[in-house]
């Protein structure tokens, strides 16, 4: 029974990992940028949620109303202010600049909030659960999972059914010709980053509700997101969801065997997939 529970929890945890990964996947799809500061931006979302809830006294999930637009704006400014100039054929500038951003973000959060672990208090949903057969499944994990599905579906809708999505795809295909269509590529990239950070805000708030966080845990979240993207296959958001689920399940099965093996099991699952399917399970574009 514990095993079934572990697997179910793993699947639901996969939703959270998919949320970590969705923003990363989106940006890579549109502009081939891997943002090393991505994990720290998730944590930033959590801290913004913390400050918003303590100032306004609202529920963490309600704080999304403030945090999402804030992060979106931050994403747009970040992209247009700094990241756009790193885009090009050379792989070093975006990597090193986003790495620098990661360090700046972590230490700024450390200065502002100290290293004390924090947590967002979501009240009753943290402990409430529903009975399915002989399993007790938490409301929060279910909520996270369905939020992840909705967000992936939403992003797919934007990409494949809207003019903005057309613009994203065109710019990622051929920047020059996209500009001939009247698209300002700097602006489009800015919008893509804004969208990515809006999703990241959701990931951050859910992370903060689910577990305690501090400025240093961003790196770990980046790695989970990255593993989910690679397992699922580049350029495929549904694949990223599946990648997250596989990661969550692997971690939970490992934890069942030995609590200290939780993280290691996830990494090993990732490495195994890297060996047998280096392009991931459902790749759409090449790295």
């Amino acid at each position: 029974m514990d095993w079934i529970n572990a697997i179910v929890q793993g699947v639901l945890l996969g939703g959270l990992y998919a949320l970590f990964a969705a923003g990363l996947s989106l940006i890579f799809g549109v502009m081939r940028l891997v943002n090393i500061a991505h994990g720290d931006l998730i944590i930033l979302g959590a801290y913004l949620g913390l400050t918003t809830t303590s100032i306004l006294g609202i529920h963490p999930l309600m704080s999304l109303v403030v945090v999402m637009p804030l992060m979106a704006l931050l994403g747009y400014c970040l992209q247009r202010g700094i990241l756009n100039s790193t885009l090009g054929d050379d792989l070093l500038p975006p990597l090193l600049v986003t790495f620098g951003l990661s360090v700046i973000l972590q230490n700024s959060l450390l200065e502002l909030y100290s290293a004390d672990p924090q947590k967002l208090n979501a009240g009753i949903i943290e402990t409430a659960s529903i009975e399915v057969g002989s399993l007790a499944i938490g409301i929060l994990p279910i909520l996270m999972f369905f939020t992840a599905i909705s967000i992936v579906a939403g992003l797919q809708f934007i990409f494949y059914r809207t003019a903005l999505g057309r613009a994203f795809r065109a710019v990622s295909d051929n920047q020059d010709v996209a500009q001939l269509m009247g698209l300002n590529k700097r602006h489009i990239f800015g919008l893509a980053m804004a969208l990515s950070l809006a999703v990241t805000a959701v990931a951050g708030i859910f992370l903060g509700i689910r577990t305690s966080f501090d400025p240093s845990v961003g790196g770990g979240r980046l790695i989970f997101g990255f593993e989910a993207v690679i397992i699922g296959g580049l350029g495929n958001l549904w694949g990223t969801l599946i990648g997250g689920i596989i990661l969550g399940v692997a971690q939970n099965i490992g934890a069942q065997i030995n609590p200290g093996w939780q993280l290691l099991s996830g990494h090993i699952a990732f490495l195994i997939i890297l060996v047998i399917k280096p392009k991931g399970l459902f790749p759409r574009i090449s790295g």
């Binding site: 500038p93 790495f99 951003l101 360090v103 700046i104 290691l264």
Partner: protein, 341 residues
């Protein structure tokens, strides 16, 4: 009558030969440092040498082989743990242990390399980070080496290095100096070699390389192995000085990767002199901003971003473009001279 002009291709210039001579003098001076300065400065020098070694190796990997790794801490920690394991369990002398750990580093780098070479670009970078995490989590499981909280190097082993504390510190210093000279020498020799030249010219153009019969990926793989081995050596020495190891300290991204990257970027990623200048700047900044606490890292990060965006050649690259000085004769110059010179 006109004296015909000839063109002459050379690697060294009079200026760089002079600078090389000065460098040799400087090395002799550095050897004498333990006799000349106090304890704190001696330790600082030692730390600087080790960081310089790490930076030179990271530079070889990223600047020349085009492999950006944010996971070299895997080898640093491996070196540290191998030192502890080999001295405590196999009874080796610390220096022997460190030498052996270098070989172990090379051996481990092979399957790791095969695995992560499946990834490219930024994904390769994060892959190296995953590997470092796997190392960290794995070593934290080994209870006999202290598990999650780590362990200290037994006194007997410490004393086997040298009986007095002063001798131990002097030995540590000379070892660090020797290692950084070895590392920079190895990097320099590699860059001058045929493989190094091929790598310089063709690293991003696999088609051109393969049409010339050069397997760029094999060369990159060898660079990865050698860098891994030497980084492991440095790791061993680092923890010989620290006398205590833990998974957090051994595999810390900040200490062994962030600082190293900053050093290389600020110094100038296109040149071998860059890491030297970068190390000096980094430690100068550290002394200057010591009172700021963590804000110092923010300044560092901002500085690195600024350099990357506005002056990607770094401090040394800037100096080089203005004054055409080369410490290491690595680039060819075309000189004109008259036939009767």
């Amino acid at each position: 009558m006109n004296i015909p002009l000839k063109y002459h291709v050379s690697r060294s210039s009079r200026l760089s030969r002079l600078v090389s001579f000065i460098t040799v003098l400087a090395l002799i001076l550095l050897l004498a440092v333990p006799l000349l300065v106090g304890r704190a400065d001696r330790v600082l020098f030692g730390v600087m040498f080790l960081y310089l070694a790490l930076a030179s190796l990271w530079y070889l990997l990223a600047g020349y082989a085009g492999l950006v790794s944010v996971g070299q801490q895997a080898f640093v920690g491996l070196g540290g743990y191998m030192l502890f394991a080999l001295t405590i369990f196999a009874g080796f002398h610390p220096l022997t242990a460190i030498a052996i750990s270098g070989i172990i580093g090379a051996i481990i780098a092979m399957p790791v390399g095969i695995l992560i070479f499946r990834l490219r670009g930024a994904y390769f970078a994060i892959g190296t980070w995953v590997i470092a995490e796997v190392f960290r989590l794995s070593f934290a499981q080994i209870q006999s080496l202290g598990g999650g909280s780590g362990s200290s190097l037994p006194v007997a082993i410490v004393k086997s290095l040298a009986s007095s504390r002063q001798m131990r510190e002097w030995t540590s210093y000379w070892l660090a100096l020797g290692l950084v000279v070895l590392v920079i020498g190895a990097v320099y020799l590699f860059l001058r070699s045929r493989q190094g030249l091929a790598l310089m010219a063709l690293r991003d153009n696999e088609l051109a390389a393969s049409s010339l019969g050069i397997d760029i990926w094999k060369t990159k793989f060898i660079v990865y192995i050698v860098t891994g081995a030497l980084t492991t050596l440095v790791g061993g020495l680092i923890f010989l000085q620290k006398l205590r190891i833990s998974p957090e300290a051994a595999f810390a991204v900040n200490d062994w990767t962030a600082f190293v990257i900053f050093i290389v970027v600020i110094g100038g990623i296109g040149t071998l002199e860059g890491p030297i200048i970068g190390t000096l700047v980094f430690f100068a900044l550290r002394e200057l901003l010591a009172d700021l606490g963590t804000a110092y890292l923010i300044v560092l990060g901002l500085f690195a971003i600024f350099v990357m965006l506005r002056a990607p050649q770094g401090v040394w690259g800037f100096v080089r473009s203005k004054f055409h000085i080369y410490l290491f004769p690595l680039n060819y110059k075309v000189e004109r001279f008259r036939e009767d010179d």
